[in-house]
């Protein structure tokens, strides 16, 4: 077939007009039966970083169920003889021989000149870690008393892998306990704001006209009220006998109720453009209702932005109380969260003298990265062009 066009060429390959279209899954395979959700899930699974991120998050959420067991200490355990102890490093070998994971014992001296506690390792004292051991007492989920831990310090020894804070509490344990609140509460506000933002913004963008006019004015009004005076006002009117947790929950929720405006405007603007697409017209002509058109046709076209926004709001959700605590409204001890831990680290003293107290930013970063990769994976899985 040296010159196929010049002269008359006829293919001699067998010809079957009824052959199914090439490629894709075979007839009747599960791919054909699968709903869009399932397809998305399959595609998601191929996205490895997202999958790992998802697994990590899953583990993190599982972990917060059993923090009491995982943490070497109880959150409230403090030791005035071990205040501001720097992290202890784990060792495996002592004097050249294998001992298993252990830490060296610590000696604290008071430096009366600088009023600093000085810790030195006592190389003779090998404090071997214990695993699946009984240690600090705790009340599991506030219900059952127990003292079973994954890892405990040696009897009479200490195990401060990430050091201790100003009351001699184990930073690692506090971080673990803090995850419980950090990974849950703020979610409420974020979810409220997202649901409202998408629904209201969606309707305003799709319906347009009068509804949009009114919604936009409401947004203007809400937007004009900066959050800070609102927090202050709210803190002032919250009943005093509410526990800080409930107050925080309330504030988060109300903030969620007010925070949807930005998202709503983004959704609305996008839908104002998308609603002019033919497929929307097609759906209208099929008799689809507003909710269906918004939910099935329009919002998916804006999903990437929504996912990105959601993953970006998550740090806000985890660290929300740090801002609040600037105004004296955040969570407070004895409640522990990452935000509380970081707020406590809010001084030059910490940066200059006790930098390990800044460690809680690490889990925050990890969680945020994980959410972000998860979001990326979801985005791609929902992207038809991938």
């Amino acid at each position: 077939m040296s010159s196929p066009a010049a002269n008359h060429y006829v293919s001699t390959a067998p010809f079957d007009p009824y052959a199914a279209e090439q490629g894709g899954a075979a007839e009747g395979s599960s791919f054909n039966q699968a709903s869009q959700l399932k397809l998305t899930w399959w595609r998601f699974k191929r996205h490895k970083p997202a999958l790992y991120a998802g697994v990590l998050l899953l583990l993190a959420y599982l972990m917060i169920v059993i923090v009491e067991f995982l943490a070497p200490y109880n959150v409230h355990t403090r030791d005035v003889d071990r205040i501001y102890a720097p992290p202890q490093s784990l060792h495996l070998f002592h004097d050249g021989s294998f001992v298993g994971p252990f830490v060296y014992g610590r000696i604290m001296t008071l430096d009366m000149d600088t009023l600093r506690r000085v810790y030195t390792d006592d190389k003779n004292k090998v404090e071997k870690l214990r695993f699946f051991c009984s240690g600090d007492r705790y009340r599991f989920w506030g219900l059952v008393d127990a003292n079973f831990h994954l890892v405990c310090p040696a009897e009479g020894g200490s195990l401060f892998v990430l050091g201790t804070d100003r009351l001699g509490r184990d930073v690692l344990s506090r971080i673990l306990y803090g995850a419980r609140i950090s990974l849950t509460i703020g979610l409420l506000g974020v979810m409220t704001s997202f649901v409202l933002g998408i629904v209201i913004g969606g309707l305003a963008g799709y319906w347009g006209g009068w509804f949009d006019m009114i919604v936009q004015r409401i947004i203007e009004v809400l937007h004009s009220i900066p959050s800070i005076p609102l927090w202050l006002a709210m803190a002032a009117i919250m009943p005093a006998d509410w526990s800080p947790l409930v107050v925080y929950l309330g504030i988060t929720f109300i903030l969620g109720l007010l925070d949807w405006t930005g998202l709503a405007r983004a959704v609305r603007s996008k839908l104002l453009a998308l609603r002019e697409e033919d497929y929307v017209l097609a759906a209208q002509m099929m008799g689809a209702g507003s909710s269906r058109i918004i939910g099935r046709h329009l919002i998916p076209g804006f999903m990437s932005h929504l996912i990105a926004s959601a993953t970006l709001t998550i740090p806000g959700m985890i660290l929300g109380e740090t801002t609040l605590s600037f105004l004296g409204l955040g969570l407070r001890p004895p409640i522990t969260s990452w935000g509380v831990l970081l707020t406590e680290a809010r001084s030059v003293n910490v940066i200059a003298l006790y930098p390990w107290l800044l460690f809680p930013v690490v889990p925050v970063i990890v969680i945020i990265l994980a959410f972000n990769f998860l979001g990326d994976g979801l985005r791609d899985a929902a992207d038809p062009y991938k």
Binding site: S224, A345, I365
Partner: protein, 332 residues
Amino acid sequence: MIRYILWRIAVMIPTLFMISVLVFTIIELPPGDYFESYIEEMRAIGEKADMQQIDELRARYGFNESEPVRYFHWITGFVQGDFGYSFEYRLPVSEVVGDRLWLTILVSVVTIIMTWLIAFPIGIYSATHQYSWGDYGLTFLGLIGIAVPNFILALVLMYFANIWFGTSIGHLMDQQFLGQPMSWAKAKSILEHLWIPVVIIGTAGTAGMVRRVRANLLDELNKQYVMTARAKGLHPFKVLIKYPLRLSLNFFISDIGSVLPTIISGAEITAVVLSLETTGPMLIRALQNQDMYLAGSFLMFLAVLTVIGVLVSDIALAFLDPRIRLQGGRTK
């Protein structure tokens, strides 16, 4: 379009009225008034307050009148350009703001411009090079910026800027230039200090913008018109800028309305931590002390900016995408 704009401006009046009522209510909401906070301030360092004198002050400033009356006084004054009186500073509100306004605008505008200048190229890069090392790396950096609370970042930066460059801690200039008229040395000192707040306020915003640009751009990159543009022989970069980028800007345009007020209000918390001579800390203090006319007038000013910003952003939207009909309902 002109009719639409006029109509929108007309609607602003009732909107602003509602906002003013709300603002007034919110600053009235916390119990007590400025004088009570004033007494507490005095007590905090041990001073005794002369209750009698304070009662007099209270009467002078109409705090024994009912709230609607006070609202009325305030809002009528506001409309006439009299923004009220700051108890804390014992000055008319307009005089209190003074220099701070310009510094705030400086910090905000520089931050916003930096944010855009950095975020857009990076956003475009990570959208077009999705899952490249660059994408991962920049995402990672940006997310760190988001994950570390601003105040910690502020402290760390300040501390190390001091140790490494000897930049004095906090403020927008060295202490000796505070309150001085502008000079070269002062300008230089401002520039030396400016980068810290810009970096701190900018990081979170930049990273957020990068992610959003990336997400929106990814959605547009596969559209047919991109292929058409490529078929014309356009440089890929030009293709990107002219077509998908413009279409992906929708989210950005819809949000520029809120940029306007932030230029004035600034990032309050960071400004407090860094002790910047901007309006943000002043606003917070005014709110905390219930210096209500200062706070109220400030908030109203922001509200006016917000409302204008929303209008601007709507008009910009209509320009960005001619399909958008701002007025009509869902069908043509």
